[in-house]
Amino acid sequence: MATDSGRDWFGSEKTTGYAKGRAFELGCLAATVFGIFMVFVLLLYVVVDAFALTTPEYGPWLDGDFLTSAHSRFPEKAGIYPALVGSVMMLIVIALSAFPIGVGTAIYLEEYASDNPIATLIEINIGNLAGVPSVVYGLLGLALFIRFVGLGTGTVVVGGFTVGLLILPIIIISAQEAIRSVPDSMRTASYGMGATRWQTVWRVVLPEALPGILTGTILALGRAIGETAPLIMIGAAATVFSPPSSFFDRFSAMPRQIYAWVSFPKYEFQYGVMAAGVVTLLTVLLLMNATAILIRNRYQRQ
């Protein structure tokens, strides 16, 4: 600014680098638009098929009957009810098993063992576990829960435990983040009041971190509900005609049923029925994510 003349005051392309910035911005915009566009096309595609919008003479595939009836040889009678119930029951098993273990692990790593080398090692490996392909978890579930523990092949508990293992690292990592985001001044205040570590964790840290933990867990459950490969590995049924009568009963889940429909020879299964299944699955997923967002917004503080 101390130059003799003021000739650079208004900048030029050469000095400001605006052109580069502008090009980068456009590139990013293009990437965003492309991503959203592809998802949109996919959604449009399944929705059009599910409601038979282009071939109205077949009627909508996705209707009340679809949600309340079981699979049938006749595509117009086929429904997703048993698989829907199976998926929900599996989610319950996952929530009851993976949530406490995941949150417990996160609390331990963050509040109790933040600086010991074993904890650091565990933490690194949790990160790695989150990246292990789901088929491998399926194999693990097969070996551990069916061969070793002796639970029944293809039952709800085995499915829940296996997929629970799969999302455990995600729950741990998101819970750790939620716990870490509780300001240290809260812990200091609590210890300064003569609280023990246990009291500090239960009365101050967890209540503060809970919305974040719940949000992360619901998003992880959303991942769980769409998993197919582990279910195939543990022998979940492709198709069942009635919902599981207990958690130890054999079951099918929505993605497994959809996968089965795609391999049916009849054209109507591959398109209409399958699309109706996909839209149902996506709707459940959307509802779960909406819940997560609701929780987050409800408890978000300034």
Binding site: S185, T188, G192, M193, G194, A195, P207
Partner: protein
């Protein structure tokens, strides 16, 4: 005060106030129950002997010897980074939370070295309340904030009454009595700081440590807090860190001047320190010749 004995370090929440240390039967006025008469000279509550604090290799406090009198306000002043907060955190062992911190020497509270292996820091902190530089209320209701200390000590008899008493003493009751259920985070900064003071005094500690409690406040809120401190000093031993000379001169009975390097250079009655300090360096600091 050497005849005092440690009676237990029971960390259970229902351990009462006396669990850290209790006077032996024959102990005289040195016992920790508050002396009421003026005749009892200044009793020492906190005393350090050659106290050194290190953060890793770096030495933050050197050879501190100080005797903090009961039921008086002791001000700690000194330039930034001279170890005032460090000293305060030593008294109730909040430095235990800092991994790199290491304490050497002795710090006696009611005659007992708080760094002895048999002292439970949780029990210690229940008798030495602390107010931090930045207001740090919990994201809970006003009521739950004040009740926190009593609840963690499992001492919830007459809770409503004691919450009210604490809020009244912190000069906050009139402003919040109709909205005790609302979040403490909705209060103004000055109100939050008074809430933190209420929270600290609710369990009725023996000593109150305050680390620049008014540094984030406007003059009105500051003078409210100063009035409050003078008021509190009738029952509590107050140790207050401040950057504000006038404040120290106004509200304290004793003043300790720490200077860079973590030395305690001067410790005397406030009037003496401000009007006739022994060391030139202290005079320079107080008159603003160096900071």
């Amino acid at each position: 005060m050497s005849q005092e004995t440690i009676s237990g370090t029971d960390p259970s929440p229902d351990a009462d106030d006396e669990s850290l240390i209790s006077p032996s039967p024959g102990a005289d006025a040195v016992g920790h129950e508050r002396t009421t008469g003026e005749q009892s000279e200044t009793r020492t509550v906190v005393e350090t002997q050659a106290l050194d604090v290190y953060y890793g290799e770096e030495r933050a406090l050197q050879e501190i010897d100080i005797e903090i009198p009961a039921e008086k306000v002791t001000a700690i002043i000194g330039p930034s980074g001279c170890g005032k907060s460090t000293f305060l955190r030593c008294i109730n062992r909040m430095n235990d939370l800092v991994d790199s911190a290491r304490v050497e020497g002795e710090l006696l509270f009611e005659g007992k070295n708080v760094y002895d292996a048999d002292v439970d820091p949780v029990a210690l902190r229940r008798r030495i309340g602390m107010v931090f530089q930045a207001p740090n209320p919990f994201p809970k209701s006003i009521y739950d904030n004040v009740a926190y200390g009593l609840r963690v000590q499992d001492d919830t008899e007459n809770l409503d009454e004691r919450v009210e008493t604490a809020l009244r003493r912190a000069a906050l009751w009139d402003e919040v009595n109709d909205r005790l259920d609302e979040s403490a985070l909705d209060l103004s900064g000055g109100q939050q700081q008074r809430l933190c003071i209420a929270r600290a005094i609710a369990p009725d500690p023996d000593v109150l440590l305050m680390d620049e409690p008014a540094s984030a406040l406007d003059p009105v809120a500051t003078s409210q807090i100063e009035d409050l401190i003078e008021e509190l000093a009738q029952d509590y031993t107050v140790v207050i860190v401040t950057h504000n000379m006038q404040q120290a001169a106004r509200i304290s009975d004793k003043t300790a001047v720490f200077l860079t390097g973590g030395e305690l250079v001067e410790f005397d009655d406030t009037g003496v320190v401000f009007e006739n300090p022994e060391h030139q360096r202290v005079e320079d600091y107080i008159t603003g010749k160096f900071g």
